[in-house]
Symmetry: C2
Subunit: 341 residues, 2 copies
């Protein structure tokens, strides 16, 4: 297993990236190619015992920063760790690419340098989302603000295959995000997609309202990238709001303060149940190769998890499965009402 | 002040509706017209001291149930409390209409029986949403799944006027929900709306991501009814998830259980900060009359609050303000890219 790691991507890069590379190479025997500024990577690497590990550095002097405009950065920063790393994958010199960097940059780089799986209209960004019963997969969470029905049909197939093969869920329950449970509810787009999903070779369980998402109602939620992005960002915001309000109210009285101390462990266990570090990253599905994108604020444990996810996605041949699955999707016969509107 | 109350709408109707009508009539001197099945309303009413109160009952034998299909119900249940009540408002025999019943039914009834304010393309459902600093208004939350730019422009005006006049916020900060803060981010719809809002006579502060909504970043959030519905339903779901997880983890250990008891008051204060009962209801904006829709699970306190909101909306002449405000909106010159796509 040979994984390219964008050593420069993420809020705590390159330190945590190098640490995770060393740990993962030792634990699982992966070869990890670290791409980035060798003058900063090398001094970090020599601090570790790397005997018998294969941890090559490929020098890339530029970095696509979080503030960079993705489409521009891909064209102007040809020597960035992201572009150089993606090209290694494209050449077939590695099995997967992992980054904690600019998500839009990773998407643009993958589209430009890897391309799409033949037959895929648009790739989708996915994420794992914590629920009361475990985790669910949501896609698209931001790659495609405006979608056509056939995009969402493919997102459903890709999400279902990933959930089954990498997350190990038999017959993943796939739901379509809508503003009502009945199949007649939703935007014109969603109503059309609903009909397509009913004919697709997946376990489609119908529409889901927003309230279903945190409950374990489905394993995979399909939506356009605009709505998906609002869902994950709102969830982040609400989670912060609840924490802040609870802290404020607990600190207001003496018994509250004592109680607050006594429930510290419960809060910690709750955090663990929704802990992204264990998850590490989620795939950019539909591009012609395994690309895993992690949180910008990943620590070494999260980067290690992302490298594991990458290896798993390679082992389970998700890209091949998507390519084969496309042939079994219902064909779009009529011109969509959205296009002809 | 004469308010029509749908006595049959809501999970705890008609009992809590009648109780709230009596209390509100006594406290504020309103005349409250209760519309619904007189054979169930009258026995409830006689339990109260109604001396000197004006609480007429208008008989309406049918009820639009929560499970009824709105458009169908409006046509087939002409003797429902919602239709009969809305007709009283339409005739000018009352100042406002309040319901805790089927939201879609209220929307359809208002559109069919009241009509729109001249110049309004589509009415919008609004709601008040709790934040770390107070409350914000979100619209549309479900009346319009597919929107055109000019609809959202009008939603922004209506939300801003309501926030200013009824909620008492000077120069309400209006934000547009998007999947990125920059004005170039968002769907084609959102990008077009952004440009229109920049020219509108409101305090437009730009795009908001989902994470901003619970923070007090803006006073009014404008969005299409599909996204708005996902936002409020997801928030409900997350709130339940957090409560359930916290309870589960607190109950897992003895110190946790003690801590849980000690923070009861803090949790109660937190609940109060996000308590819908105080808010009662939010307006259906854009219809030609004051229509306030409350939660289905409203208790008497929430119904009372909704009646107060109705009176306030009448007093502040929100409908007139919207009609006058429309003239100052930027005109849509070109055909939208969405329509010509």
């Amino acid at each position: 297993m040979k994984i390219v790691l964008d050593a420069m991507g993420g809020d705590f890069a390159p330190a945590v990236n190098v640490e995770a590379a060393v740990r993962t190479a030792r634990e699982f025997g992966y070869e990890i190619v670290m791409v980035g500024r060798q003058e900063v990577i090398r001094p970090l690497l020599v601090q570790y015992n790397t005997a018998n590990l294969t941890l090559p550095i490929v020098h890339a002097p530029e970095v696509i920063e979080m503030s960079d405009h993705p489409a521009t950065a891909v064209k102007t920063k040809k020597n960035s760790s992201m572009v150089v790393g993606m090209e290694i994958l494209k050449r077939g010199d590695a099995d997967a690419f992992v980054t904690m960097g600019n998500t839009g940059g990773a998407l643009a780089t993958a589209l430009f340098h890897l391309g799409r799986i033949p037959g895929i209209h648009r790739p989708a960004l996915s994420t794992l989302y914590p629920t009361t019963t475990g985790w669910c997969l949501i896609l698209d969470i931001g790659a495609n603000s405006d979608c056509k029905p056939e995009y969402l049909l493919q997102f459903a197939l890709m999400g279902s295959l990933y959930s089954e093969k990498v997350l190990g869920i038999a017959k993943p329950r796939v739901a379509l995000v809508s503003n009502g449970e009945e199949e007649t509810k939703g935007s014109v787009l969603v109503q059309e997609v609903h009909q397509l999903l009913k004919q697709a070779p997946i376990n489609f369980i119908g529409n889901a309202e927003g309230r279903h998402i945190p409950t374990g109602f489905a394993d995979v939620y399909v939506t356009d990238g605009f709505t998906g992005n609002v869902i994950i960002k709102l969830s982040e915001g609400m989670s912060s709001m609840v924490k802040q309000m609870l802290r404020e109210e607990v600190m207001r009285t003496a018994p509250g303060k004592v109680g607050g101390l006594l429930i510290q462990d419960a809060i910690r266990r709750m955090g663990k149940r929704t802990d992204y570090e264990e998850i590490g990253g989620a795939p950019l599905l539909g591009v012609d190769g395994v690309v895993i994108i992690g949180h910008g604020r990943s620590n070494a444990r999260a980067v290690r998890s992302a490298l594991r996810v990458a290896a798993n996605t390679v082992d389970k041949r998700v890209v091949d499965a998507i390519e084969q699955g496309l042939a079994r999707l219902p064909q779009i016969k009529k011109v969509s009402a959205i296009e002809s509107a």
